[in-house]
Structures are given as C-alpha cells and as structure tokens.
Symmetry: C2
Amino acid sequence: MSVKKGELIVLSGPSGVGKSTVISELLSARRDIYFSVSFTTREPRTGEADGVNYNFVTREEFERMIAADELLEYAEYVGNYYGTSLKVIREKLEQGVDVLLDIEVQGAAKVKERCPEAVLIFLIPPSIEELSRRLHRRNTDAEEVIERRLEKARQECRESVHYDYLVVNDTVVAASGEILSILAAERCRAAKRLHLTKSIVGEQ
Amino acid sequence: MSVKKGELIVLSGPSGVGKSTVISELLSARRDIYFSVSFTTREPRTGEADGVNYNFVTREEFERMIAADELLEYAEYVGNYYGTSLKVIREKLEQGVDVLLDIEVQGAAKVKERCPEAVLIFLIPPSIEELSRRLHRRNTDAEEVIERRLEKARQECRESVHYDYLVVNDTVVAASGEILSILAAERCRAAKRLHLTKSIVGEQ
C-alpha cells in the first residue's frame, strides 16, 4: 500500500439531519478533500444543481451503470436509485487524496464490505422530535412523506451499529468540528503509520 | 457501563522525545483531564518535584506496593521501578473524568491487557538523528547512557505495534493538536455512543 494513500470517508445520516450543511462546512475547512458526487434517478429539489448535489440521471442510464459494474455501491430508496461511481474514487485515493462519500446506510455497509479501511461516520439528530421539526421546517415534503422519513430514520439508527463513529448534529460547527477531529485522528492510526517507526528503527 | 465513563489514555514515547512538554501543552488545553502521576524509585532530575513529575519512593516502598497489588502496572527500566497506582484512576474514570497515563511500552501493554478500551498513543521523534540531538541537548546523561537510550528507543518503536495511534513530535503544537483530535475522535466512537441511537429509536 502506498504511504500517501487517501482516506475513504463515508458520511450517512437520516434525511433532514442537516448533512448537506455539515458537508459544506467540512469542505470549506478541508479544501483538499474530494467530495464524490453521487448519481441518482430522483428529481432535483429547488436549488439543487446537476453535478453539484448529485449527478441526476435517468433510470435507463442508472441501470446501464449497474449492468456495466461501474458502481462502488448503489441502493434504491423511496423509489429512486442512488449510487457511487468507482473509477474516480479509486484514482483519488491512489493519489493520496481523501475522498468523502455521502451515502445511506445500505450503501455504506457495501462500501465497508469492499473497503474495510473506510471510515464510516453516522450523523444523528439530537432527538427524533428535533428531526421532525427540521423536516417540517424544510417544507418540501407532504406529512405522509415526513412520517415515512421519520420511520426510516429510526430504522437507520438501529442499523448504524456498523459505523465507526456517531456524531450528533446539534450545531453545524460542533458536528463538523468532531468530524474534522475524526479525520485528523484516523491519519494517526498506528496501522497507517508503520512506515514512520520503520524509518526510526532503520528498516526503511 | 456508565454513559459518562472517562477515557483511559496512555501516552508513551522514547526518552528524550519531548513527552513532558507535549503533556504540559495537552493539560493546559484540556484542564478537565486528570494526569496520573507515576511512582518511581529513580532519583529526581533537576527541576523535578515529588508529586508533580513523579511520586518518588524508595525501593522498599515500591516493592511493598507490588506485594499489596496496589499497581495497575509496573516495570523496571534502566535499573529503576516505574508504576501506576490503580485506586485513584478507577475512581476518576467512574466519575467520567479522562485519565492520562505517561508510561513506557511494557507498562502500556499491561494496561491494554487489563483495560482493552484504553487508548494507546505512542509519541515518536521525526528521526533517530533528531532524538539523538534532543538527548544531547538535554545535557543530563553521559554518552554511554544516551547510546543505551537510543537503542532502547529503537526497540520501543519496534514494540509500538500494540499502540492505537502514532504521533510524530515534530513540533509540540502539532503533536498535542493531533492528540487532542484523537481524544475528541475517541469520544465519537459508535461503540461508546450507543445510548444516543437508543434514545432516537425510543429504546432508552
């Protein structure tokens, strides 16, 4: 393994938890991180741009990518496909660049399976009541969709046992601060720094 | 396990690496950390105070503590005993206070054996040449002692595979910054925050 290999960081969290805001904060603090934009078949929300929030593709195109094995992971969620392209990520990691993925629980589990060294971070709301308030404040979903999202959130929290870290998104600054600490700490993992002790003992 | 249980943090590093300075920096940034002062039978160096740098005790007293099983770990190093008292540490951890231990490699391995959840951090010099310069600059040891310390440092680096993290003490600010990140990240470990997801899914 190359000494300078980048970290693969997976960030998940229930819909409405404020993941996009935390990611923006994170990327402005760590401009060296490559944020991998996912592919999806869902419709863009107001303010979302193709190639920025997601690569918006048709169902036909997405199914072609699945068939051609071009995806690191993909999942279907509330009737839409979401997936991550493998090629660019692999290149960035080899160049020593840290890569951030914003994917949901099923996808994250698949990434961990294929890349056990990936760092999985799950963003949770301070409480389910606060998540409900945030979803209502967003004002984009019907009551029925919100209820479905809350139930999905509970289920995702139950499945979050596969994650390495849990970060509470109470305030954006605190949450992104904790994630920055996690990334800094992961760089210090002894298993990733064996070359440093080898150079001390003269085995390099 | 109590939700508020403190972290047991073990910091090791070869003689001359600058551990005391890093610890001072760390403790001034995190005044809530309890620094466990080790017991030793070695002579105090100039500027060292009893109960601050070490609890300096006689060989007889130390051997009484061993016999009474009052030590979490102890080791003999360059002809002197070094050890950690168990009682205070246990109390602090139960109160939710993070405890920092400054102990060497053999002792750290024993702590990890008894407390697998302890966080082991190994501080290394940027190079063996720089360590040699630092030992000479300290001007307290004869050339022969320095040579012995350098050989011991190489050996400790070889044994540092049991550590969770490796931090290079290039500058004190960078090294203590990395350690602060490690401590912040360890608080976010999913295994230590299961109570948070339980409260979300309503199982608390």
